[in-house]
């Protein structure tokens, strides 16, 4: 699926990356906790999140996340937009809640970048 199709499915606004909408994506990860994103998200996936601060962009850069979808109609701060532009990471914004966003994408063939976590951290 291309980002153009994602935009159509989610009735999303493009905040960053107008020139990168032909990009293909197959998988996604959704979380508001960046440590969870770091632990489980995979390169080339969409990141669905309700967080809007610059750390979302940093986290995505570290993992080579394909594009970010900010859910629940969230609009990021100017410094978040600036960083995304600098690092060339597309940012979309949708009014759908995280559950609806995930469901609508899943219905059209986007899969989770991991299905389940069977071997979580060994507790010390």
């Amino acid at each position: 699926m291309t980002l153009n199709e994602v935009i159509e499915i989610l009735d999303a606004d493009v905040l960053v990356g107008q020139d990168q909408l032909e990009m293909e994506v197959k998988t996604a990860f959704g979380a508001d906790l960046m440590s969870d994103v770091l632990a489980f998200a995979k390169s080339g996936s969409l990141l669905l999140t309700g967080l809007t601060n610059p750390q979302v962009i940093r986290t995505s850069d570290i993992l080579d996340i394909a594009a970010i979808i900010m859910v629940r109609g969230k609009k990021p701060a100017p410094e978040t937009i600036r960083l995304a532009e600098e690092l060339r990471i597309p940012v979309l914004s949708t009014k759908y809640i995280l559950f609806e966003t995930a469901g609508r994408l899943y219905e059209k063939g986007i899969k989770g970048c991991v299905e389940r976590v069977d071997n979580n951290f060994a507790r010390s």
């Binding site: 508001d32 906790l33 960046m34 440590s35 969870d36 994103v37 770091l38 632990a39 390169s43 999140t49 967080l51 601060n53 610059p54 750390q55 979302v56 940093r58 986290t59 850069d61 570290i62 993992l63 080579d64 410094e79 690092l87 979580n120 951290f121 507790r123 010390s124």
Partner: protein, 148 residues
Amino acid sequence: MHVHEKPTFESNYTVQGGNFDEAGKVASQIKVILKKLGLQTDVVRKAALVAYESEINIVSYARKGTISISVTPGQVKIETTDEGQGIPDINLAMQEGYSTATSKIREMGFGAGMGLCNIKKFSDYFQITSEIGKGTHLKMIINIENGV
């Protein structure tokens, strides 16, 4: 392990405590350098991730700190030293979910007691030492399977 090999790359970075806007900048730089060195994708990812969580810890809990990185054909070594409050109980700090994070840290999407667990999980070798009132020292090694 190729612990005695001469480094192909070495660098040190200073991180200012409390500077939440810049948090992650050093890790981003490290990632770019490791990519340029031609390391495998999963090595770059692990090293950048470990550097990032460590950087977040310095910004969140210390006055200042340094991140040093050293790359040899066999491994990436990342060490962080900070001037901060130190960790009273390391076993407790290493427990997933245990956190002393402020609301500012949580707003950034961290502070859920996962940082040190993530660092340990993605490192092939991990060592933590801490002294109350002085600071914390982390040493992480990520092995490079087939050399650079």
